[in-house]
Amino acid sequence: MGRFALQRVLQGLVVIVGVTIVVFVVTRLIGDPVALMLPLEATAEERAAFAGALGLDEPIIVQFFEFVRGAVRLDFGESLWQGRPAFEIILEVLPRTVMLVLAGLGLAFVLAVPVGIFAARRPGSWVDRSLVGGSLLGLSVPQFWLGLMLILLFGVTLKWLPTSGSGTFLHLVLPALTLALPAFGRLTMMVRSSMIDELHAAYIETARAKGMPEWRTVFVHAFRNASNPVATLTGWELIRAIAGYSVVVETVFAWPGIGFMAIQAIQQQDLILLQAIVFVVAVIVVIVNLALDFVYKLIDPRIQFV
């Protein structure tokens, strides 16, 4: 148990260091950070002064350790665009992303479990077939386009919901729905397929034969055993939402979270802010991954730590 935890933490550290190295190689070796951040008409003196002020004239190894030294103290330097510490900006926008991801995935999960179980009880029925078809369609629609279609329907045509920004609960509805729908499709399919497996297992026959109420057989016995792959997929969705889907969804709805901030940092050529965001997201992904390992163990005691 202790050894397993240590091994996983080390693995996580490797990921974080790996991400940092990639960011450094890409920005410092392949690209020229000074040229990227300064306007084209900047003079040679301006460039030199800028590089000196940010330590960009040091050897890359020195820069790397300077970054790591700052990062462990949560000091990523000042955002060029906003003129304040990058970490302060991240702290400001991160809760909104967390809220969006929890709302979207929470919705997807709460709907997917009963719907998937329902479909698994009658495989091949028209309900099941239309659910399978609907999920396949849901997986094929680009997420940014789904968001725009929701804007077109609820914002432009029906005028029920605000289409961008944040602030009220109503602002959360469309982005959360956009995040939820594809995840709902994938989760429903996973619940369905693992429930079909379990419902045909011998222990379910036994439970039915001895007269156990059907709801208990399905929801307690079968679902408990089917929940392992479902939990794994939910964890995968969580990580994907934080480190990927949120960028697209937040940009569509101008939801001021960390994904939209990353896109704005790119538009503003603010490399300091961008590398801080990538680092922080990598750390979050590693922490969530670690937490999930222990959640899986709680759900399914058959998993052995080795």
Binding site: I30, S140, W145, L148, V156, G244, I266, I277, A282, N289
Partner: protein, 316 residues
């Protein structure tokens, strides 16, 4: 084992001749309507993409300010000159869709080819050799899978500058791991089979064993994976182009056209709608073909999809 209808059985009989094989393949495909229409759509799309410059009714880049923002032909204000309407610069939407198919197909095929070959070779080596080299390759795979791939892609695209080439490179870097995992798993299950051991016993070199004896056995799972990845890559390219970090004007791409249409969403619904439908239909078709292929090559999956009465057989 999917040939259950009399038609399909007839088609399977002359399997030796190439023509018969193709007929058997088509009959089998026809028995899965979703897979058939998926394949049909992808074939038409591929032809459109290849012959796009000959087919397009207008030059997709030709601007005409007097014709800007015309709605589709079937609406009240639409004209038959532009079936799907025109965009903010008076460019023909249909022509841009057909040209956009080119980029999507190009990026899709290129990334699948690059990431697929790297991943398959890595997976073959890891699975066949085992030991230390296996541990190293799979550790790299595990580490990279845990990376926030999209954010790293955004950084790379920002630094190098977005273009079709950089999109292909970035998506290939992000996409090889899944092939390595699947290939390695399949190699491990095939390795102990009699024919592989026999090839080793008669003294075949390991390269020959890998490419002549192991790889052909992996065709079915890899082909399904390739089609699924193709669908995923099309979505990824569209998303990157939508974010402004993919294909750049004057080139056209479906994702880029959605981004343009986004600014006119309040008055001109057709600009965001049609390119998105094109993406969705392409990805849906690929998914349906992959689903058919999986069922065709793995009868157990069939029971799960159209489980009616047969499920117990597969399960017990």
């Amino acid at each position: 084992m999917t040939a259950t209808t009399p038609d399909a059985l007839e088609g399977l009989e002359p399997a030796a001749a190439p023509a018969g094989r193709i007929r058997a393949f088509l009959t089998d495909l026809w028995s899965d309507k979703a897979g058939f229409f998926g394949m049909l759509f992808l074939t038409i799309l591929l032809l459109l993409a290849v012959f796009a410059p000959l087919i397009v009714p207008y030059d997709p880049g030709a601007q005409s300010l007097t014709d800007r923002l015309q709605p589709p032909a079937w609406t009240a204000e639409g004209t038959s000159a532009h079936i799907l309407g025109t965009d903010n610069l008076g460019r023909d939407v249909l022509s841009r869709l057909i040209m956009g198919a080119r980029i999507s197909m190009l990026v899709g095929f290129a990334v699948v080819a690059i990431a697929g070959s790297v991943g398959v070779v890595a997976g073959l080596i890891a699975g066949y050799r085992g030991g230390k080299i296996d541990a190293v390759i799979m550790r790299i795979v595990d580490t990279q899978v845990a990376f926030p791939g999209l954010l790293l892609a955004l950084i790379i695209l920002t630094v190098i500058g977005p273009s079709a080439t950089t999109v292909i490179i970035v998506l290939s870097i992000n996409g090889w791991m899944v092939y390595a995992r699947v290939t390695r798993g399949a190699v491990l299950s095939v390795k102990e089979r009699g024919y592989v051991e026999a090839a080793e016993l008669v003294g075949a070199k390991s390269r020959r064993v890998i490419f002549r004896h192991i790889l052909p056995g992996l065709t079915a799972p890899l082909l399904t994976l390739v089609i699924l990845e193709f669908a995923r890559i099309i979505l990824a390219e569209a998303a990157l182009s939508f974010l402004g970090l993919g294909i750049q004007p004057p080139q056209t791409s479906w994702g880029l056209d959605v981004a343009i249409g986004r600014d006119y969403i309040f008055n001109s619904w057709w600009l965001v709608t049609f390119p998105g439908i094109a993406i969705a239909l392409t990805v849906l078709s690929a998914n349906m073909v992959a689903s058919w292929l999986r069922i065709r090559t793995n009868p157990l999956a069939r029971a799960k999809r159209f489980a009616e009465t047969s499920i117990q057989e597969g399960d017990l």
